[in-house]
């Protein structure tokens, strides 16, 4: 699963925003992207014989920015990289055939429990969920 998260981080690096996984430092650089997921589960397709090593997972992609408009701007870039047009899109992971597809998203919200360091402003965020499918290359 880690290789897939690293591949997503690598893909998003072209957008130029910090990409964190699961936890965010106490003084993050805004805007940023937060990835989170479970450990992945075996594929839903029954193997014909022996273990197959498929991975299926929901990957959460939280975009955080200083303003709601900023969230929408960054989120559009992230979606354009990970799943343009919400289409299933290949994810480059060595030795595997993997892909992502955006399956849903949440409204933009302001996190009033948090302040951007050095300001009295609360950041805004929005969550997209992506469906990850991965199978070993033959």
């Amino acid at each position: 699963m880690l290789a897939h998260i690293q591949a997503i981080q690598s893909g998003l690096s072209s957008a130029g925003y910090p990409v964190y996984f699961v936890s965010v430092p106490s003084a993050p650089t805004f805007p940023y992207v937060l990835l989170w997921s479970g450990t992945g589960s075996p594929g839903s397709e029954e193997p014909l014989c022996g273990p197959v090593g498929d991975i299926e997972a929901v990957v959460g992609v939280t975009v955080v920015a200083g303003t709601p408009a900023g969230v929408l701007t960054v989120q559009a870039k992230v979606r354009g990289i990970l799943s343009p047009g919400d289409a299933r899109t290949a994810l480059t992971v060595a030795g595997r055939s993997a892909s992502l597809k955006r399956t849903g998203g949440q409204t933009v919200q302001v996190d009033r429990d948090v302040k951007i360091p050095g300001t009295d402003t609360s950041p805004a965020f929005s969550v997209d969920l992506y469906d990850l499918h991965s199978t070993p290359c033959l």
Binding site: V24, L34, G60, T62, D111, V114, V127
Partner: protein
Amino acid sequence: MTSLEASGFSEVIQAFATAERASASQARAVVERGAMNIKRQLQRELSDSKHFKGVARDVSYDVRTAGAFGGGIIEAEIGPESGPGSAGNLANVAYFGTSRGGGTVPDPSLALAAEVPRFERELGRLVGEGL
């Protein structure tokens, strides 16, 4: 001959109407059973959470039937209820997190996906019985 055909049609129409009423109520039962299974899975997953176990008691479902001109829709809405003072208000944080951390309870769509094979099997059985 004409009256016989008319009589035959009436009986067939009556049989279809009876079967439709019966299958509509049976289909509602299948939807309701599926909704209950999903509700229980959502409650289990929330109960397993250290921080969000209180949300589990606010998970409920509602089955609605709507229809006109012989057609019908049976739908179920399942999930934590929100409102003043309700623990269900925290469900969004449980499932989707905040600006500083992701969701810690499995996405509810997974409970729906887990129920789909059972639901399809039950509905298929119902359709098979009606033919």
